[in-house]
């Protein structure tokens, strides 16, 4: 939405709080103002500025898909001042939201293709948005494979949804935890995401790969995909530089002359390779 005061947040009520993992929560948010609710639209991959009055704003992607109308969700880990204040909020309380900002995953261009989603840790939320977006339009896509890893079993987020994806015949789900992060009952893989990915029979032909994770995971995942003959322009990721405004004015999220908030956060590996290492 755009209004005269571009810094003014919309007010949103917390409809539901889900504890995902230690210190990780998901909020389901609804606009208080009907007009704002009606006019709101976004695309998979976009982000917003979430705020607690008196504490400040924090940047997260929208973690729910645009195909699910009437609410948005965000998932965050309690780490700094704003996320700690958010974590203390309960159902029924009000927070601020500005957005949507940034570009998006071009999922219309992926029609008729296989999709490989690779995520690590707290980076599943941006991918969850696009996964559900594609699953809600399931007929548009061919094979859908999701590879998701976290440090420990406890740290895996969206556990109910992982179960749901696991049971769906039209989704291949591979979950893994870092060595030492497993429990006796753990039935998934053990190993780092790139290692697990390397052991899989990846078919690059007619396949789009989406990779979201900590920088170290991304760094080791791209070569695995390139070795499997994925085209660099078919590998997508999101960058997560620090932001304040969300619309190219506050001056900190740029990578070279590229503004993550305007030109991103979604980039292909081909685009990333042309950028300086400033992220």
């Amino acid at each position: 939405m755009r209004n005269d005061n571009i810094y003014k947040p919309c007010l949103m009520r917390i409809e539901k709080v889900t504890d995902e993992a230690p210190d990780v929560k998901t909020f389901r948010l609804k606009f208080i103002d009907d007009v704002q609710a009606r006019n709101f639209d976004f695309k998979a991959g976009q982000f917003g500025e979430y705020s607690v009055m008196g504490e400040g704003e924090s940047t997260f992607c929208i973690a729910s898909p645009p195909t699910r109308k009437g609410y948005i969700e965000c998932t965050f880990r309690k780490t700094g001042r704003v996320t700690s204040a958010l974590a203390n909020k309960e159902e029924g309380e009000i927070i601020g939201f500005r957005g949507p900002y940034g570009n998006r995953f071009p999922i219309e261009e992926w029609k008729g293709k296989n999709l490989l989603f690779v995520a690590g840790g707290i980076a599943l939320p941006p991918m969850r948005c696009v996964i559900w977006n594609c699953l809600d339009l399931r007929e548009d896509y061919k094979d859908i494979t999701i590879v998701y890893g976290a440090k420990t079993v406890d740290d895996l987020i969206y556990k109910n949804e992982l179960e749901e994806w696991n049971e769906r015949p039209d989704v291949t789900l591979v979950t893994t935890v870092d060595p030492g992060g497993e429990t006796p009952a753990w039935k998934g893989q053990i190993g780092f995401v790139p290692t697990i990915l390397e052991k899989m029979e990846l078919k690059a032909e007619n396949t789009i790969a989406v990779v979201c994770g900590p920088p170290i995971m991304i760094k080791f995942t791209f070569p695995v995909l390139v070795k499997a003959e994925f085209k660099e322009a078919d590998i997508f990721t999101t960058l997560e530089n620090r932001m304040k405004c969300g619309f190219g004015k506050c001056g900190r999220c740029n990578v070279g002359s590229v503004y993550v908030c305007k030109d991103g956060p979604v980039f292909t590996y081909a685009q990333l390779k042309k950028l300086p290492a400033e992220y």
Binding site: I6, G80, K249, G256, P276, E278
Partner: protein
Amino acid sequence: MTPQNKLLKKECLPTFVETLVKGGKLLYAPTKENERIEFKLIENFSEIYLDYIQTTKSIKSIVFPPIEKLFEYVADKEHVEIKDVNLNTIPETIVFGAHPCDAASFKVLNAVFTWDCNDEFFLTRKDKTTVIGLSCKNHDDYCFCTSVDLNPGSTEGSDILLTRIENDNYLAEIMTEKGEAVYKLVKNLFEPAPQVDKNAFVTQLPKLFDLNDLRGKLSFEGLSWMQQSLRCLSCGTCAYVCPTCSCFDIQDIGNQTKGKRVRIWDTCALPQFTLHTSGHNPRHFQNERWRQRIMHKFSYEPERLHVYGCVGCGRCSRACPVNINILENLIEISGGNK
């Protein structure tokens, strides 16, 4: 509108200024106090000091205050009320006696604050501000406006530009509708302009490097940013005094029940500027932050916003506590003016 030239006699200048002040406009002008020259809100002409080379701080705070209130709020658990700032209360303001470098700086700020969506706080302040510029009689070793496509008599950004000519009278070039509106308030003080070569009355500042050469040679990876920035303290003074540095933070002042959200000056010189929550920092080292400063002004802004983020005022070099001289560095990178 077509610019028009008039003559403002030296003895009419005090009446000119005081009429505007009495007419209810806020008037900022250079003042000198204990050897320190700064723009201040003035009431009488006698407070003004026009015979200056450069003020320590720029005029940007008039259109882009160090702390800008974005809104106020009152909140409890289930209600939040956001109270808008009434931009109509921003007063009509005149900047009197700004040198052409400062006058030109608003164009750079404007590019940042309007390129994607309009920042109404900046735009309202800018629209309500009239710049009465003053051509430069003198320059010092830090000045380099002629190297960034400006000059000591440039009308760029001035609504009226004054140039001191024969007998200490002023040539007034009325450039814009805002300038004309001010002129109309004090029309009786002006006389027809004489034929005059303005350039004979402004300081002659040689061009020291070529902007295109500089841009051609700027390179993210290829330059020794380390050497130029080795003694930098990361204090951010350069950005504080800079007329075109516009990066900001957004912070809340208050508590969870009552307070305000503000936009507050920030700078790429500070390590916290880009620090991620995880502890990772894309610009961890000072040379990376210095590179950002130079690249942003001379490569990214021209590429993205079609303006250079520098007006050659030299303030950053004058104010730097460890004497980093941006002009020397730009000459070094560009190879100088051959």
